[in-house]
């Protein structure tokens, strides 16, 4: 099931990267191209869909892409930047 970005964030894409502000914690985070892609799609796609997007965009294999997606989503959850839809 897709996630939702937390209400208490602000964000913007800059080129193929992105910046996310956690307003609750006054923290600024930058996302690399992989992170920015996942961030832009996470409200539309579930884990399988995100993995497919990474495989397609970055020409990587599915197991590595899945590891990256899980690791990234886990980081977002830990930092309170996303919530369950």
């Amino acid at each position: 099931m897709p996630l939702r970005r937390h209400r208490e964030i602000a964000w913007q894409q800059i080129g193929d990267e992105a910046v996310v502000l956690s307003l609750a914690e006054s923290r600024v985070l930058g996302l690399n191209p992989t992170g920015a892609l996942l961030w832009s799609l996470l409200e539309e796609r579930d884990e399988d869909g995100l993995v497919a997007a990474v495989v397609e965009r970055f020409a990587t294999d599915e197991p590595h892409a899945r590891d990256d997606v899980r690791s990234f989503l886990s980081m977002l959850r830990e930092r309170g930047l996303v919530q369950e839809a």
């Binding site: 970005r5 209400r7 208490e8 964030i9 602000a10 964000w11 913007q12 894409q13 800059i14 080129g15 990267e17 910046v19 502000l21 307003l23 609750a24 006054s26 600024v28 985070l29 930058g30 996302l31 690399n32 992989t34 992170g35 990474v54 970055f58 990587t60 590595h64 892409a65 990256d68 690791s71 990234f72 980081m75």
Partner: protein, 344 residues
């Protein structure tokens, strides 16, 4: 393919290179309930302005242009009847919100509404440590008490508050007490000795400039905390985000390449989309070139000016040339350099 957090400084540089307006200032109204004697805005009673629906569609355009930070200002933005609608619009688009207000109209319920929006900060002007001084500066009896009530209501809601003080000859002897007011509340106080002529060209506000001795004392106090303004320039760099990462829209829809730059508007959002104005304006490109040239010009102007923040927009207002600092700027750069040496 590791996932890593990218340093935000690099992203700022990327925005600069792409001319992506990360920060936008929206002057919602000229109206103001105060009459500050050194204010640049001569149109306190001017009720003209964009329709709320246009402000909201501008937020969509800002989102598309790549804006991240939106500051709502004025005049006094809280006099706008749809202030909260517009402020909510900022946050509904996942943009970061700052509010620049005098605080006098902040009621308990409005403070609670603002808290729900999670602004990055609400910035208020403190014009003196005593009611007599503050109210003289604002030409509004009771404004000191009203402003502090507003500050305390915002703080009660857990909102990040920043106090800002235009340092003037009216309040220059109250710096320590103004710091005490800020410290007691646990909020930062930012002193700024720069005053500007009115938008209509009237130089009256400049008569209120703080004395050089007071400006030096201000830099000395900042030096004790290692906070003297400092610009780390390199040849070929950029002075500021003028024409690239900053944008301002006035109440009548004129778009400028930063809040201070009033040489000429880039265009008007009543006649064209903001995206068109931003991407197609020759004035924006010219302003961006000024920001590049200003960096190298300051580097060549000696150590004091090279190390001191320079505003081409203010230089344009003071000298008619965005690359030529006025006497006061030069003096302040030298005072800052002296204070830096003294604190080393």
């Amino acid at each position: 393919m590791a996932l890593s957090w990218t340093p935000s400084a690099r992203l700022k540089q990327a925005a600069l290179e792409r001319a992506q307006p990360l920060s936008a200032s929206l002057e919602l109204t000229y109206r103001c309930n105060w009459r500050c004697v050194f204010c640049y805005n001569p149109r306190h009673n001017d009720l003209r302005g964009l329709a709320t629906a246009r402000w909201l569609s501008l937020l969509d355009e800002l989102r598309a242009l790549g804006t991240l930070y939106v500051a709502l200002t004025g005049g006094e933005p809280l006099t706008h009847p749809d202030f909260l609608t517009i402020a909510r619009g900022v946050r509904e688009r996942a943009l970061a919100l700052r509010i620049l207000t005098n605080g006098a109209l902040v009621t308990e319920s409005l403070a609670a509404e603002i808290a729900r929006l999670r602004p990055m900060a609400v910035e208020l002007s403190l014009h003196g440590a005593r009611a007599a001084t503050h109210d003289r500066a604002t030409a509004t009896p009771g404004s000191f008490e009203a402003m502090l009530r507003g500050v305390d209501r915002l703080l009660k809601q857990g909102i990040a508050v920043v106090l800002k003080t235009p340092l003037t000859r009216l309040n220059e002897d109250e710096m320590d007490d103004m710091r005490r007011i800020a410290d007691e509340r646990g909020v930062p106080l930012r002193l700024d000795p720069v005053l500007t002529p009115r938008d209509d060209g009237d130089a009256g506000p400049l008569a209120y400039r703080a004395s050089p001795a007071a400006v030096f004392r201000m830099f000395q106090a900042l030096g004790e905390k290692g906070q003297i303004p400092h610009e780390g320039r390199v040849m070929g760099g950029t002075n500021c985000g003028l024409g690239r990462t900053t944008l301002a829209i006035d109440p009548e829809g004129n778009v400028f390449p930063c809040l201070q730059w009033r040489r000429a508007p880039l265009g008007n959002v009543r006649e064209a989309s903001l995206v068109e104005v931003w991407t197609e304006s020759a004035e924006r490109v010219a302003a961006a070139a000024v920001a590049r040239a200003a960096n190298d010009r300051m580097l060549e102007a000696g150590a004091a000016l090279a190390a001191f923040p320079f505003c081409p927009a203010l230089a344009q207002q003071h000298t008619g040339d965005p690359l030529r600092p006025d006497e006061t700027h030069i003096e302040q750069a030298e005072l800052a350099a002296r204070a830096r040496l003294a604190s080393a």
